[in-house]
């Protein structure tokens, strides 16, 4: 058994007795590397949204935890995620977003791949003007495709390839929100924004999970959305979050609001839910719009939040969309001092991970417990990364 970098035994206790994850899980590079495999590569992580590559041939390179990936909308319109690395000498294939008109040509020796990842040309591989060689089997040298799945327009990836199928791993959440499994229309330029925060990505999840902080950090909500109007969403080992019973639709000067999703149950007239889809995607649904926040861990103490808002139709009022984006951006920006403050607090060497309110912090504790479970599983495995401390 490899020596373990951290002791997680107290995290997995019942909430009234539990501590949060130790400081090292927020500030230590070695634990961050371990987490990369145990949490983010071994599960279904959010990478981007399919609206990032709306048209056939669109290609966008993305670096995820240091790994070069390439999003491509293939000839048939399917979203694919490839390792952005040529099978020949390991050159980066696409280094800026662009349209692939035909094949993906490596800029080094011009090996070419179809948008489906097939290796279609190996120029001069057998010598000048000879494009074949017995030792090079193109059928075995296509681009490495990363397992991916689209849900709520989010492109989820499982880099290890070992997770249960997405529909199985997330069956409970998909069932909970089956009413929202309808076409989502990205609101366009003003409905996407990015926040860069000086904190570990998990702190953004933890803050998003719970309503306990709302009256203190988002006082603007107090006038109509009191703490008692919220409820916990707790699915141990799966997801957690919070809901509100008093969602109010945004209205334009003409009194009109966004159109609703079709066929919603009556409860959604005033309900809205905000769920952390473990590990790194924050989702929100309302009768008339939804959003996804993809947390991109840029390092132990740095996170990029990519925010996307969606509507029920592609012709919603642009001014109203702008106002809605501004409202949400304000709320998310109000959280920045909290997550950055918790990050600084994690350098307090005598901090023990903290305690949880047994009444109010259930969703957050579930996330800590799930993270700890991923480390337990990983450390019990024979994966080489699990023994990095040896």
């Amino acid at each position: 058994m490899a020596p373990q970098l951290t002791d997680l035994s107290t995290v997995r206790r019942p909430i009234a007795e539990a501590n949060g994850l130790p400081n090292a899980h927020y500030i230590d590079a070695a634990v961050f590397d371990e987490e990369r495999q145990a949490v983010l590569f071994d599960n279904w992580s959010g990478l981007a949204v399919s609206a990032d590559i709306p048209d056939v041939g669109d290609a966008v390179p993305v670096t995820f935890l240091g790994m070069p990936l390439l999003l491509v909308r293939d000839r048939r319109g399917a979203v694919r995620v490839f390792q952005n690395t040529c099978r020949h000498r390991g050159m980066i294939l696409v280094d800026a977003p662009r349209k692939i008109e035909g094949a993906i040509r490596c800029p080094y020796h011009s090996w070419c791949y179809s948008t489906e990842g097939r290796l279609v040309s190996t120029p001069h591989v057998g010598g000048p003007g000879q494009n074949t060689h017995a030792g090079i089997d193109r059928a075995l040298l296509g681009l490495i495709e990363i397992r991916s799945h689209i849900w709520m327009d989010v492109i989820w990836i499982n880099i290890s390839g070992n997770a249960a199928p997405f529909e199985v791993a997330n069956a409970d959440l998909m069932a909970r929100w089956a009413e929202f499994d309808k076409p989502l229309f990205h609101g366009g330029t003003s409905s996407r924004f990015q926040l860069s925060v000086n904190c570990n990505w998990k702190l953004a999840v933890e803050n998003y999970c719970e309503s306990y902080h709302l009256p203190w950090v988002h006082p603007g909500l107090n006038s109509y959305s009191r703490l008692e109007d919220h409820y916990h969403i707790e699915q141990p080992g799966r997801y957690s979050g919070q809901g509100t019973l008093v969602y109010r639709q945004l209205k334009g000067e003409d009194g009109k609001s966004f159109p609703d999703f079709d066929g919603l149950a009556d409860k959604w007239n005033t309900a809205a839910e905000y769920i952390s889809a473990y590990p790194n995607v924050l989702l929100g649904v309302h009768r008339d719009h939804a959003f996804a926040i993809i947390l991109v861990p840029d390092g132990p103490e740095r996170t990029t939040e990519n925010v996307h808002l969606y509507y029920t139709a592609d012709d919603t009022d642009a001014d109203l969309r702008d106002r809605n984006s501004a409202l949400w951006k304000l709320v998310f920006e109000e959280d920045i001092f909290v997550v950055e403050g918790m990050q600084r607090g994690r350098h307090g060497v005598k901090f023990d991970g903290g305690r949880f309110s047994p009444a109010m912090d259930g969703p957050t504790h579930l996330f800590h417990d799930w993270i700890a479970a991923q480390f337990d599983r990983h450390r019990a495995s024979d994966h080489p990364a699990a023994h990095a401390a040896e």
Binding site: E101, G102, R105, S110, C112, V120, P123, G129, N131
Partner: protein
Amino acid sequence: MSTLNDHLLAAHEAGDITSLIDLYTQAGDSSQGSDAAAFYLTHAMVFALELGDPRAAVLRARLVAEGREEA
């Protein structure tokens, strides 16, 4: 050939792939010897593939006929 070479360099400089297909095809057509011809036609085919240009199939067929490319 020096003029063709100049045009090729200019097309590379400009990233003008359509012209590169034309010019490398011309270079292949005017080459002495099958190795040199296949070399240039391969370049023409690669750029045609990159552009999704239908000439890729024609160029590929020529190379296959010469045993230079997978059938």
